[in-house]
């Protein structure tokens, strides 16, 4: 085992401009927000983001000018409404939005995790989403060789970097996720590089007491960063809940054309608001 404990700046350095990136969690739950803020601080460009149901992580990076392309099943702030920067930049043409559906995106991650070039899925047939998939070469109609059933083969999705926020890990990258996993384990297996930010570092001795709790083992992890409150304002199960007021504040700033002030205050840490 190799020690992979590092700092946030060094870990964010693993994400190159133009990289295909996915984040752990879903909407406002266990999303690596501090890492996302670090990507903004480092001025990343032309990122290609992919996930099934992202929210503030994608929107923040889009608003900060770090993103060229988005592929997702849905990008929204749930009952709070549309993702403001995503909507604005999709409509202005600054952002290329290639909508998928949740299942083909998950299946693409699963294919990559299994080392397969593609994986067939049911459904999808008859949806205009297939015309988009056709253009980006991500889904094709196939016949099952045994039954003749028509299905959609989804091309494997191998992110350059997957960033997961978890509750605990040791310095070698043995990771414990508590509560719902979402597709985090699959994403970690699918990606070329894996960064895990954690609420708490625990010892290797502690890890060895309960190996069944280690859902991501060290040999697929490239960096571990101790990042308390690393999902804030999203939640981290067993540690803290979503700060819904902060999310409303974000939306208010975006709606009032004060997004730059939001970035100054909450990303760059400059008091200007």
């Amino acid at each position: 085992m190799k020690k992979v404990l590092t700092g946030l700046q060094e870990a964010a350095g693993l994400v190159e401009d133009g990289a295909l990136v996915t984040f752990g969690g879903a909407t406002f739950s266990r999303v690596p927000m501090e890492f996302v803020r670090e990507l903004v601080r480092q001025g990343k460009k032309d990122l290609n983001l992919i996930d099934r149901e992202p929210a503030m992580d994608f929107d923040l990076l889009i608003g900060a000018g770090c993103v060229a392309k988005v592929r997702a099943g849905m990008v929204a702030f749930e009952v709070f409404g549309m993702a403001p920067n995503f909507r604005k930049k999709s409509e202005s043409g600054e952002l290329v939005t290639k909508e998928g559906a949740c299942q083909p995106i998950i299946a693409g991650f699963r294919a990559a995790a299994m080392g397969l070039p593609s994986l067939p899925v049911k459904g999808m047939l008859g949806s205009d989403l297939l015309t988009i998939s056709d253009v980006i070469g991500s889904q094709k109609q196939i016949q099952d060789p045994f039954t003749g059933e028509t299905m959609i083969a989804v091309r494997a999705i191998e992110p350059d970097v997957a960033i997961i926020h978890a509750q605990k890990a040791d310095e070698f990258g043995n990771v414990r996720i508590e509560g719902p996993f979402y597709e985090d384990v699959i994403k970690a297996k699918a990606a070329k590089k894996v960064v895990v930010t954690v609420e708490e570092l625990i010892s290797n001795t502690e890890i060895r007491k309960m190996p069944e709790a280690t859902t991501i083992p060290h040999f697929i992890v490239d960096a571990v960063v101790e990042t308390p409150k690393g999902a804030y304002p999203c939640s981290c199960f067993n540690y803290y809940d979503v700060d819904y007021d902060h999310i409303k504040q974000y939306l208010k700033a975006a709606a009032k054309d004060q997004f730059k002030n939001y970035l100054d205050k909450f990303v760059y840490g400059r008091e200007s608001v």
């Binding site: 099943g73 849905m74 998950i106 949806s127 205009d128």
Partner: protein
């Protein structure tokens, strides 16, 4: 007398009524109404349903809802976690009975649009995206679509973009599966040989004519159309208990 019932509560009751005992049911993202409908069904006529939360908890003892439908507190006292990819496996096996989905536009064939208005490469309006719609719509035995504001701009002649597949975009095998549309005005289904949208129920205080006026195509009327069954005070109390802060009303503002 009946028009004292709030529209969200009327819709939640109608949505709950679509669930039968022993059904396996999943809700997705941004789904306060489905969560409340599943909770009502489980506490009343469907105690043995399998409840799969979008936040991954199975049969949680839900005490209240939150603005996020993936809030991990929704998993309180769950018996297990079942990930979305596992729920999708179940759907491919034909064992996920009911899913609740949204729509920004819907047409007479039951096609839904949650993707774009205008050109997909340069959208006039970028919508949030269909999430699981295109995957689950054709293969799930029953899909319940909820629409909080029925108007001729939402119930359109033809959707701008087919995100979820209606009956004219399905194979014969998938035509057997049901679509039910529950709006603020009534309940629509496709239980006729041509699989075209028909009015089945109008909510108290509304009418067949009002639904027709707020539909952008010539909508059919079921021969046995009637007023929607009304939730009793115990159901309203239950809904208020689980949603004391009125998260369910957020989609109606």
């Amino acid at each position: 007398m009946n028009d004292k019932i709030d529209t969200p509560d009327m819709m939640i009751y109608a949505m709950a009524s679509e669930i039968e005992n022993f059904d396996t049911v999943l809700h997705g993202v941004s789904s306060p109404l489905p969560i409340l409908a599943m909770s009502v069904a489980r506490k009343t006529h469907a105690p043995d349903m399998a409840y799969i939360s979008g936040s991954e908890g199975v049969d949680p003892e839900l005490d209240r809802i939150y603005p996020s439908s993936f809030d991990a507190r929704l998993n309180r006292n769950a018996v297990a976690y079942f990930g979305l990819h596992e729920a999708f496996d179940l759907a491919q096996r034909g064992e996920l009975k009911i899913m609740f989905l949204g729509a920004a536009q819907v047409d007479r064939y039951g096609n839904t649009n949650l993707s774009v208005i205008g050109d997909v490469n340069r959208p006039k309006v970028q919508l949030p995206g269909g999430a699981a719609s295109a995957f689950l719509m054709p293969i799930t035995p029953k899909v319940v679509i909820w629409v909080t504001r029925q108007s001729s701009r939402v119930f359109v002649e033809e959707v701008d973009f087919v995100t979820g597949q209606g009956y004219n975009h399905r194979t014969d095998e998938h035509k057997k599966n049901e679509i039910v549309i529950i709006s603020n005005l009534g309940v629509m289904n496709f239980k006729n040989p041509d699989r075209l949208m028909q009015i089945q129920y109008y909510h108290p205080g509304h009418s067949v004519d009002e639904i027709k006026e707020n539909t952008g195509f010539d909508i059919l009327v079921a021969p046995d159309v009637s007023e929607s069954p009304v939730p009793g005070p115990d159901i309203i109390k239950l809904i208020n208990q689980i949603d004391p802060e009125g998260v369910r009303r957020s989609e109606f503002r």
